[in-house]
């Protein structure tokens, strides 16, 4: 087992600082006021009472805010790609939309004053009801259709059903927060909770029409993201505007209720899956249709049906999608976006088919998995060991021994016991990124990148990769992350972080070896002609693995080159392997559930997840990701649902008591294992991302187990006890 995380001590001792925790001289505090209607126009603000509160410095609204250059007019707003021109419009699209920011000397003053701000509106009609609206929204083809629907119209077995998933909210523990300060008239500095400092920097640079180099963004520690930190949200722009207005640093921390409407959510979704098989269980065709909610002002779209084109050998496949515009805030990517929802429809439908076929769902999947060729692109998978995941998972939970083919056949008192499984898949991406290595005179190094580590273990992985490459002990390798001044990197999202960084860190290591050879050659000419890969790093200096050792001390290298620090940077990204191969991570999830016959209570008491994500750089951090994703999957399956009041036009229960993500007591010990075979084509480490794939397929595994336990097919998430009882 690998040792702990590079940032572990800082996190548990509190020395690691999250965005809101930085002490900034002369800082003042902003509190957001949200609209109290779901649709309409602001006619007037009533600010007098708020202004009388001691300590209030200013209240900015769309009437008096400093203007954002890119929001100059309708045309430029459209071009900005920013769907909600916050404080640059009198229009209200959802309840809770920021309409003012109260700025005061203390958080308490600002909070109190914000409670006194009101507005008069011209109200418009609104709609927040997904279920009654979506039937009238037409579907449109998406993705590459293959074969025809006629080709399987005589399929011996067909499963055809509709599935629904409620609106879910990310709710990372750390609330989103921004401290903004104009260091000079044209220089901006931000401490901001996000999943990509260069993305924030680039976005602000476009909006304020100022050079990116003039904007520094720091996000060194991030208390969870799950996708909520991938975009620049309105509160960030409001903080920057406020700092401009009062000419002081301003801090804005979202409240927990604001976390439900101002930083995205997983949209509510409807799906219909029709899948056919021949009498032997070979899949013949699939029609997967889906619609999901979105905001009236935003065009967010996630590919819910994509997974049906990738996972199995299905000769005829058609996918159709649509979005449904509502007066709610904009949704965004949430862990396993699209595929996580789609897998619920697909993997439940296959389970339904397995009972029709009287075929073990494990066997049915093994028979149909597309492990050689990606059916969607027709490219060979670089590697795909999903079949091994399924086999290993079945063995680990002792599927063959305990799972009964007949539903509702195992009882312990009032408890009904059942087993279920499902697969997940996520594209294994890689982006271009840069990394740097700096060596100090004492031989310690730091590996650096702008990428954030949102809790995934990216920093630890980078340390591991540098250690593997250079042989320098881990306690002499520091990691610096999450600052836009560091070598550029994309956002941490879509399970691409480590895959991307591994390339960059290996490239930086190679660059560093070259640089060391060059610098050492000033001391010992033999280094002029060495293969840099031949250099070994020892306690006091470098030496050569072959060619007779020839040690050169760090002291000499620094002294003879007259250096204070050795500093290299390198950039690396995907190449032509992307033309040759398709890349994926895969997972098989198995669960055992107990369902109480009299009360509807569901208890998941065993989870086995087996993941194929190439080489595992750090088994501890990787298993951690999968366990966390499994708990997220339990939430999706059993507890998480954002209530929406259709009459009042808003979300209700917007706090952690009202929104039920799972607690530790809801999760059993999660048995995680990895296939661990490197994918030599994807990046130098052979490692693929695994943040998403752990949640994709978990919810259908639970639903399938509930069916096996009870004989009740529950197709609407979350499966709360009331649904079990009333089915």
């Amino acid at each position: 087992m690998a040792e702990g995380r590079v940032e572990g001590i800082s996190k548990v001792t509190g020395s690691g600082k999250y965005a809101a925790e930085y002490k900034v001289d002369n800082v003042c505090y902003g509190v957001i006021v949200g609209s109290t209607i779901p649709a309409g126009e602001i006619e007037a603000y009533h600010l007098d009472d708020a202004k009388e509160v001691a300590g209030v410095l200013d209240i900015i609204t769309h009437l008096n805010r400093p203007s954002i250059p890119a929001f100059e007019n309708e045309e430029s707003i459209k071009k900005s790609g920013f769907s909600l021109p916050v404080l640059h419009t009198d229009k209200v699209f959802f309840k809770g939309q920021p309409i003012a920011l109260v700025i005061a000397e203390t958080l308490e003053d600002a909070t109190y004053a914000a409670s006194l701000v009101t507005a008069t509106y011209k109200q418009s009609s609104f709609n927040v009801d997904f279920d009654t609206t979506h039937p009238s929204i037409p579907l449109a083809g998406t993705g590459k259709e293959r074969g025809t629907m006629d080709a399987w119209s005589n399929a011996a077995f067909v499963a055809d059903a509709e599935y629904n998933i409620k609106h879910e909210v990310h709710n990372p523990m750390e609330m989103h927060a921004t401290i903004a300060t104009w260091v000079s008239k044209d220089k901006l500095k931000l401490w901001d909770k996000n999943q990509g400092v260069n993305n924030v920097q680039g976005t602000l640079s476009r909006l304020w029409k100022m050079p990116a180099a003039n904007i520094e963004v720091i996000s060194e520690f991030v208390g969870g993201g799950f996708g909520a930190g991938l975009l620049v949200w309105p509160h960030v722009l409001m903080t920057v505007m406020a700092a401009q207005q009062v000419k002081r640093p301003v801090k804005v921390v979202l409240t927990r209720p604001q976390m439900f409407t101002l930083v995205g959510y997983r949209p509510q979704a409807w799906q219909k899956v029709k899948i056919g098989a021949d009498k032997d269980g070979n899949f013949l065709g699939i029609l997967h249709q889906s619609k999901h909610s979105k905001s009236v002002y935003d065009n967010y779209r996630e590919g819910i049906t994509r997974i049906s084109r990738m996972l199995y050998k299905i000769p005829n496949a058609k996918t159709e999608e649509a979005t449904v515009s509502l007066n709610l805030s904009a949704p965004t990517w949430m862990r396993g976006p699209g595929d996580c929802s789609g897998a619920f429809g697909l993997e439940c439908a296959i389970d339904e088919l397995s009972y029709q076929l009287k075929k073990d769902p494990v066997q049915l999947r093994l028979q149909n998995l597309a492990t050689e060729i990606d059916p969607d692109t027709q490219k060979p998978w670089s590697t795909n060991f999903l079949n091994e995941c399924v086999e290993k998972g079945a063995a680990n939970i002792e599927w063959a021994k305990y799972r009964k083919a007949q539903p509702a056949s195992v009882k312990e008192g009032d408890w009904m016991i059942g087993y279920g499984m499902a697969c997940g898949m996520w594209f294994a991406g890689r982006s271009k990124a840069s990394a740097g290595i700096k060596m100090q005179k004492d031989g310690t190094i730091s590996v650096e990148t702008a990428m954030t580590d949102i809790g995934t273990g990216t920093g630890t992985g980078m340390q591991n990769i540098a250690h593997d490459n250079l042989g320098i002990p881990k306690n002499k390798i520091k990691v610096n992350l999450g600052n836009s001044n560091l070598p550029a990197a994309p956002s941490q999202g879509g399970s691409t972080g480590l895959s991307t960084m591994s390339g960059a860190v290996v490239a930086a290591c190679n660059e560093f070896r070259k640089k060391i050879a060059e610098l050492a050659s000033v001391v010992d000419e033999a280094y002029k002609h060495v293969n840099p890969a031949d250099i070994v790093f020892t306690k006091n200096g470098v030496a050569l693995q072959t060619q007779g050792n020839r040690p050169v001390s760090y002291e000499n290298i620094f002294a003879k080159n007259n250096l204070e620090i050795i500093d290299v940077q390198a950039t690396s990204g995907p190449g032509e392997e992307r033309q040759k191969y398709a890349f994926c991570s895969g997972a098989a999830h198995f669960v055992r559930v107990k369902v109480h016959a009299k009360t509807g209570k569901v208890k998941v008491d065993k989870i086995v997840s087996v993941v194929d994500a190439g080489y595992v750089v750090n088994d501890k951090a990787a298993a951690n990701q999968i366990s966390g994703a499994a708990v997220g999957g339990l939430g999706m399956a059993l507890t998480e649902e954002q209530l929406v009041d259709h009459k009042l036009g808003c979300v209700v229960g917007n706090d952690l008591a009202g929104y039920h993500f799972p607690v530790n007591a809801d999760a059993p010990i999660i048995d995680v294992s990895f296939i661990g075979k490197p994918d030599v084509n994807i990046n130098p480490a052979g490692a693929k991302g695994l943040g998403e794939v752990g949640i994709i397929g978990m919810a259908p595994a639970v639903a399938n187990a509930i069916y096996n336990a009870t004989g009740k097919r529950l197709r609407n998430l979350p499966i709360t006890p009331d649904k079990v009882l009333m089915a």
Binding site: G34, T36, K95, E108, T111, Y112, S115, P257, D414, H596, A597, K598, T599, G600, K601, L638, T639, L643, V644, D645, K647, L648, C650, V652, G653, N654, D655, L656, A657, G658, H660, F661, P662, V663, N664, A665, D666, T720, P721, D722, K723, L725, M726
Partner: protein, 326 residues
């Protein structure tokens, strides 16, 4: 949060004298009050910290046990005497909140916590309890968590406490000190109110009244008591349905039974008719099923909580069965 004055109170007399003043509000554990203050639902001008003035001991009395109002929920739950002679109280306490909250929350405060109805908690929504006359948002809205018995057209909120369900079942008494230095005793069943036309009033505590203790009479229920709580997750969630059940048995014969529920009404709800039915019967599954059927006869669910009826029926059966294996 609005600015307020904070006063440390040294005696009960001082506490009840000041509490009657406008804008004065007592604080003990503060686990609910601080939430309410942060949301501007309760906006005191003066906070009276009564933690030093309230009794914080658990004592045996001639008739039973007295739990001081300042005893922390976790201390009561883990107290030997309560665990051995009043286990229903311990079980109910441990089913509530989280360890951190139980470590802060006081027994007196537990009785006074306010509903967790989401319409009450969001000040931008209508709620007669928070803002009389604005209407009840839940009655036609998201009322999955709301009442199925005893509600009115003005309010369908439920009382959130687990402890109170056990106290109602055990016929506890609420001991109250008022300004005239007199001790008032309110039987538990009369302490909390139904919403009627005044849902803003949760209970019958006099304006100057301070809860000083809760008395629980000695009983023979300690061998056969159970608390069943059904909720949307395993911890840190309010009850969809909860049932406190207690049996006094002579062999297999039920001498006396107690049944109370949370998650069903504006106040802890006793099922007297089912209790009467159980008396004198044999403690069998069949008897329990009949008692559960009597319980649900009284209920009248709202638009989104019909499930509470079968869930309540199941929970009553399970709780009574659990009494036999307690």
């Amino acid at each position: 949060m609005r600015p307020f004055t904070f006063q440390r109170i040294q005696s009960l007399d001082q506490a009840s004298a000041r509490k009657a003043n406008d804008g004065h509000q007592c604080i003990a554990g503060g686990t609910n009050l601080l939430d309410l203050m942060k949301k501007n639902i309760t906006v005191p001008e003066v906070l009276l910290d009564i933690t030093k003035a309230l009794p914080d001991q658990i004592e045996t009395t001639a008739k039973g046990i007295r739990i001081g109002a300042m005893v922390r929920n976790s201390a009561a739950a883990n107290h030997d005497l309560i665990r051995s002679k009043f286990p229903l109280v311990s079980k109910a306490l441990l089913a509530g909140a989280s360890p951190q909250i139980r470590n802060m929350a006081s027994i007196g405060g537990n009785l006074l916590q306010r509903t967790r109805c989401p319409y009450f908690y969001d000040t931008t929504l209508p709620c007669n309890k928070r803002n009389p006359g604005t209407g009840c948002g839940a009655i036609d809205g998201e009322n999955r968590m709301s009442a199925i018995v005893g509600y009115s057209t003005e309010c369908v909120a439920v009382h959130p406490s687990d402890l109170c369900i056990a106290l109602a079942a055990l016929d506890a008494n609420v001991i109250i000190r008022t300004t005239d230095k007199k001790e008032t005793i309110i039987p538990f069943k009369d302490f909390h109110r139904l919403p009627g036309e005044t849902p803003e009033q949760d209970n019958n505590l006099p304006v100057s009244g301070i809860i000083t203790a809760v008395d629980i009479p000695s009983n023979q229920f300690f061998k056969n008591a159970a608390y069943v709580k059904l909720r949307d997750r395993e911890s840190y969630a309010f009850a969809l349905i909860s049932v406190a059940a207690a049996l006094e048995l002579n062999g297999n014969k039920i001498v006396q039974a107690r049944l109370a529920s949370g998650g069903v009404a504006h106040k802890p709800w006793r099922w007297y008719e089912a209790e009467a039915f159980l008396k004198g019967k044999n403690a069998t599954l069949e008897t329990f099923q009949k008692a559960a059927a009597i319980v649900v006869k009284e209920t009248k669910p709202l638009s989104n909580n019909a499930f509470k009826v079968p869930m309540l029926k199941g929970a009553v059966e399970v709780a009574l069965q659990n009494c036999l294996n307690a």
